[in-house]
Symmetry: C2
Subunit: 350 residues, 2 copies
């Protein structure tokens, strides 16, 4: 069975949604009790961010995100023969680390909306959101440190190293925003995306492998699988940031363009050497892009080949991910859940 | 030998400065190599914050702070019979955690000056300072997670729990600033100071005990010693924030009053029920305090008894600290370094 065959099977199976549901069912009690252990105001900010309460503290039925990272932890542990439930603290930890980055990224990027709701810093103020993010990172590492499972020490080390990489990615992302349209290369941009997105998806898979007692090589292959799938995910996410349906994304159409974001398809277009790329650079030189400019910019990215490139690159990254997965989990049957998840993140409708 | 005798001896010995020097000598190589492992821009922000480089990246001869927390780790380990050098990663970890809080607190409090230099966020911008702080917290936990010492897992758990407490303290501190002059009780203020300052000094001592292989009770007594000494330290620090010599503090005189800070002596004055307390409340109701107002406010704190109360409370907390220390380390000879440090932090000239 080739990688492509397996991807096909996973797609037909369409089990990712059920898998994510199951993950939330298993992980949410741990996640929620961990967050609820926070004192007073920190708890309220964190619970609002997760969608569990409204700004006034009353219960909400919102959802804490898709739980892709926790699902990767459980699926990786399961693929290597462990009981996924044994890795539940690892799953909660990566979700906490992910949400720590969201809280801080929203501050740094001055984003006002996430998951169709006002971001935490706009509701509670920057200081409280910043400190709640700090607490969430500390919780992520505490939930592992308190875990009696023999893998927890290695998992802590891996997650802490991953958070350093996430920070480097976020810092690079901010630095790129301040540079001119031709001053960011596509390679720099891919390296930033790997640090900002790939690293945590890789760490999620690596944590699952560690909880399954895997050896160094399997852990490394799992990490590489997650990283490559993460890059594919980021490429798709960047496409959604330009052409996504606001109904699905919870953000206005073309939000990334309006924010002058140097996302992967944009940088591909800017560095394409095409007339459409030059057009895009002229649009990005304007301090403010109105609705029509955003539409023109999206069209320029497409004509400069940025959209096609991103789609092809996402496919290529997925192929690499599947190769790494076959190294980590030679039995295709055992890899089914991980395949479903990888397919899911790269085939989201937009 | 009574606690008072011992305190007297430590003071005469005056060994704290030498102890802090020795600590920096032992811990700085670990601290520096850990910080230098950060990628690019994060490294520069962190190194600037520690005083190792100027804003342009050229080497500086500044000092990374007094290293009180690392000294507590090493002294606690030594007091319980361990080789202090074995706890060097624990010492580096608490210093990283401390500096993470400084980086973020400066952002949240909009402080422009620290250690006689512009704060990192004023030099590098809020986003880079925020993310560098995040990375420093991750490093603190990574330096423990990577430590092969058998105590490192328990140390990680303790430090992660402590950081949650630090966050709660910082959040409470911010919340108090927004409340009216009579809306913060002295008890709330003491609880906040315990979380914001006592917790990390307590955790430093507890980490030292863990590295010495101490039992639960000794670790708890060491934690309590550090917490009480930490409260004494905070009380003195608050006095310095009002009456400190700018030459020593690196901050303008009365900086805390100008910032309407509800520090412990201020809250003691505000809740004193005295005419001077009411005067202080009127001054604090002004949106801006000029130089003369700051002088009047300091005088009002003093006349309302805030200064005397803080000094007496600091003495009381020190007595409790010494009691806890005698529980953790029954041999007074072995406790000498910890005593020197506790005396040092509560007898700083201002």
């Amino acid at each position: 069975m080739t990688s492509t065959d397996r991807a096909g099977t996973a797609e037909e199976g369409g089990g990712a949604a059920a898998l994510l549901d199951r993950t939330r069912h298993v992980v949410n009690p741990q996640l929620r009790s961990t967050v609820e252990s926070l004192p007073g105001s920190l708890r309220r900010v964190a619970m609002y961010h997760f969608g569990w309460v409204h700004a006034d503290g009353s219960p909400a039925t919102g959802q804490a995100g898709k739980a892709i990272r926790p699902a990767l932890v459980l699926a990786a542990a399961g693929a290597l023969g462990a009981d996924p439930a044994a890795a539940v603290r690892g799953a909660a930890a990566v979700e906490l680390a992910h949400n720590f980055t969201l809280l801080h990224d929203d501050i740094v990027d001055e984003d006002a909306t996430r998951r169709n709701r006002p971001t935490a810093w706009t509701v509670f103020g920057m200081p409280d959101a910043l400190v709640a993010g700090d607490a969430m990172l500390a919780l992520a590492l505490r939930v592992l440190a308190d875990d009696p499972h023999p893998a927890s020490a290695a998992a802590s080390a891996r997650l802490a190293a991953c958070v350093v990489e996430l920070c480097a990615g976020q810092q690079a992302d901010c630095a790129f925003e301040g540079r001119g349209p031709h001053d960011v290369s596509l390679d720099e941009c891919l390296a930033m995306a790997e640090a900002k997105t790939g690293a945590l998806l890789g760490a999620s898979c690596a944590l699952g492998a560690l909880y399954a007692g895997a050896g160094e090589e399997e852990v490394a292959a799992m990490d590489a699988f997650g990283r490559e799938a993460g890059l594919a995910f980021q490429l798709i996410d960047d496409l959604i940031g330009i052409w996504g349906d606001p109904e699905h994304t919870g953000k206005p159409a073309g939000a990334d363009l309006a924010a002058h974001k140097k996302s992967l398809p944009v940088v591909a277009a800017l560095t394409s050497g095409t007339p459409a790329g030059a057009e895009l650079a002229r649009l990005y030189a304007q301090p403010v892009l109105d609705e029509k400019d955003v539409w023109l910019a999206a069209d320029a990215v497409e004509r400069a080949g940025g959209r096609d490139w991103a789609q092809a690159e996402a496919g290529d990254r997925m192929a690499r991910a599947l190769h790494q997965l076959s190294r980590a989990v030679p039995d295709p049957g055992a890899a089914g859940d991980l395949l479903s998840l990888a397919e899911f993140v790269t085939r989201r409708t937009y």
